[in-house]
Symmetry: C2
Subunit: 288 residues, 2 copies
C-alpha cells in the first residue's frame, strides 16, 4: 500500500528510543503522567475520541511503522502542526518501557489548561469551575454521575464507558478519585474519558453544595438504600452518586440524598461500582 504523498511527507522517522522528540512517550507506564501536564491516548478507538474531542488536542502521534498505511484515513484528520512520529517495534517498546502491542499512541493536552507543570489538582481547571460545570450538565439533560473516592483506574474507566453508553451528561469525580486521564482509565473507558465532559478534584462538601445550587436531584446508591431501583422516578437533573466498594458513600451524604438500592440475591451485598452505575443508568435510560 502506497501512502498518500501528503501523509508520507509529514511522517517523522525515529530510530533511537532516546530521541528527545519522543520524550513525551518515555516510560508511560508511570502513573504520574497527568501531573506532568499531558496524557497518553492508546489505540485507534481512543485516538478517534481524541480527534473528536473539543477539550483535548494531540501534541504528537507516535506510531508503529507497520500501522501507518492502515491509519491513513484517520491521519488525514490530524491537524497539520501535529508531528507524526514513526518507529519500528523495538524502538517504540524501548521508549515506552513496555510492549506497545497496538502500535498507536498519541500525546495530548487539555486545551482549556494548556500545559500545566506538576499540579494535578489544577489540570483542566479541576478544582475551579465546578459550579459552571454543574450548571452546564443540568442544562444538557441526561443524568450526571458523581464518583466519590474511586481510586481504582479500571473502575473509573469503566464508569465513563457505562455513563457514555446510557446518555449521561457528564461525570464529577472528587479529588480522592483517580484522574480519568490516567492511561489505564482512558483505555478502559474505550476513549469516552476524552469525549464525555468531566470535572475532577473538588471535595465532597463542595460537590454537595454545588449539586444543591445547580438544582440536581441526588440519588445515592447504597446496599441499605430506602428506595428500590424499580421505584425510582426518572426525570431531569438526576445526579447518581457512587462511592467505592469498600467504604461506600459518606454518611452525611447518604443522610441528605434520596437513597436507592438494587435488589440482590440473599447474602450478596455489593456489586462493582461501574456495574452498579450501568444497572441504574440503563434503567433510567429505558424509562426516559
Amino acid at each position: 500500500m502506497t501512502l498518500p504523498p501528503a501523509l508520507a511527507a509529514r511522517l517523522v522517522r525515529i530510530d533511537d528510543a532516546a530521541d528527545i522528540r519522543i520524550a513525551d512517550y518515555r516510560d508511560i507506564r508511570d502513573r504520574d503522567l497527568v501531573a506532568r501536564g499531558g496524557f497518553i491516548a492508546e489505540g485507534t478507538v481512543v485516538l478517534d475520541h481524541l480527534l473528536r474531542s473539543g477539550r483535548f488536542r494531540p501534541t504528537s502521534l507516535f506510531l508503529l511503522k507497520s500501522r501507518v498505511a492502515g491509519l491513513a484515513g484517520r491521519l488525514a484528520l490530524v491537524p497539520d502542526d501535529v508531528p507524526i512520529f514513526v518507529a519500528e517495534g523495538p524502538v517504540m517498546d524501548r521508549a515506552a518501557g513496555f510492549a506497545i502491542h497496538r502500535g498507536v499512541l498519541a500525546h495530548a493536552v487539555d486545551r482549556t489548561a494548556g500545559r500545566i507543570e506538576g499540579d494535578l489538582a489544577k489540570f483542566g481547571g479541576e478544582a475551579d469551575g465546578l459550579s459552571e460545570f454543574l450548571a452546564r450538565s443540568r442544562r444538557a439533560g441526561g443524568p450526571l454521575v458523581v464518583a466519590i473516592g474511586l481510586a481504582n483506574h479500571d473502575n473509573v474507566g469503566a464508569l465513563f464507558r457505562n455513563a457514555a453508553a446510557f446518555g449521561a451528561s457528564g461525570l464529577v469525580l472528587d479529588g480522592a478519585s483517580c484522574h480519568p486521564l490516567y492511561r489505564k482509565a482512558i483505555r478502559v473507558s474505550v476513549g469516552t474519558a476524552l469525549t464525555l465532559p468531566f470535572h475532577h478534584g473538588a471535595d465532597v462538601e463542595a460537590i454537595w453544595r454545588g449539586l444543591e445550587h445547580s438544582g440536581h436531584r441526588p440519588l445515592a446508591l447504597s446496599p441499605r438504600g430506602e428506595t428500590d431501583l424499580a421505584a425510582v422516578k426518572p426525570g431531569d437533573g438526576l445526579a447518581l452518586c457512587l462511592g467505592s466498594e469498600g467504604t461506600g458513600l459518606p454518611e452525611e451524604l447518604l443522610a441528605r440524598a434520596e437513597t436507592v438500592r438494587i435488589p440482590m440475591a440473599p447474602g450478596i451485598d455489593s456489586l462493582n461500582v461501574a456495574t452498579t452505575a450501568a444497572i441504574v443508568l440503563s434503567r433510567l435510560y429505558s424509562a426516559a
Copy 2:
C-alpha cells in the same frame, strides 16, 4: 493475642521458600495451575466461599504468620486433615513468585474429579456431565448464564460475581472460554466461582443441543437484538447467552435464539460482557 491451643498445635511453620510441603504454592502467577489439577484461593472472602463449597475442598492453607490470630474463627472450620502452613512475608512471597499482600492462600481441588494431572478439559468432569448439569440448573430455577468464547479472566470472574448477585442457577462456559478456577477469575468473582455451579469445556453445538433438550429458553444478547430488554418476559428456564465483546455470539446461535438488545445512546454499540449480564440479570431479578 494468644492462639487457641488446638489451632496453635496444627500450624506448620515454613522457613524455606523451597520447602517441598508448599510446592502447590510455587509460582502461582503461572496460568497453567488448573491444568496441574488444582487451584489457588486467595484472601479471606474467597476462603470463606471455598469452605462453604460442596464441590471443592482445600488440600492445604498457606498463611502469613501475622494473619493467623485474626483468622482463628475461620480456621476452626478447616477440616483437621488439612495442613495449615505459616510463614513470614519474604518466604511466602519468594515461594509464590510475587508479593502476596493479603497473606491468605489455600490450595484446593475438585472433589468430583480428585487430582487430575495435565488434562484441563476433563477437570471437574467438564466435557462430560453437561446434560445432567443443564437438567439440574433447569430444576433449580433462576436464569442460567451461558458464555461463549470469553477468554478474558476478569470478564469470566465478573460474570460469576454478577450472576451470583442476581440469583442465577449457574454458568455454562464453552471450551474457548477461560476456566473459572484461574486465580484471577476466582479473585474477581469474589469467590463466587467456588459456590455458583458451573460447567466448563463443552463446544457451542453441544451446549445448544443441551439447552434444547433441557427445555431452557435461550436469550441471546446482541447489539442487533430484536427484542428490547424491557419487553423480555421473565419466566422459568431462561438461558442468557453471551459472546465476547469483539466477536459476539455465532450467527447460527443468533438465528435460533430469541435475540435481545439493551437500548443505548446513539453511536455506542457495546458494553463489557459482564456488565451486560448484570443489566439483564438485574432486570429479570426485579421482574420475577
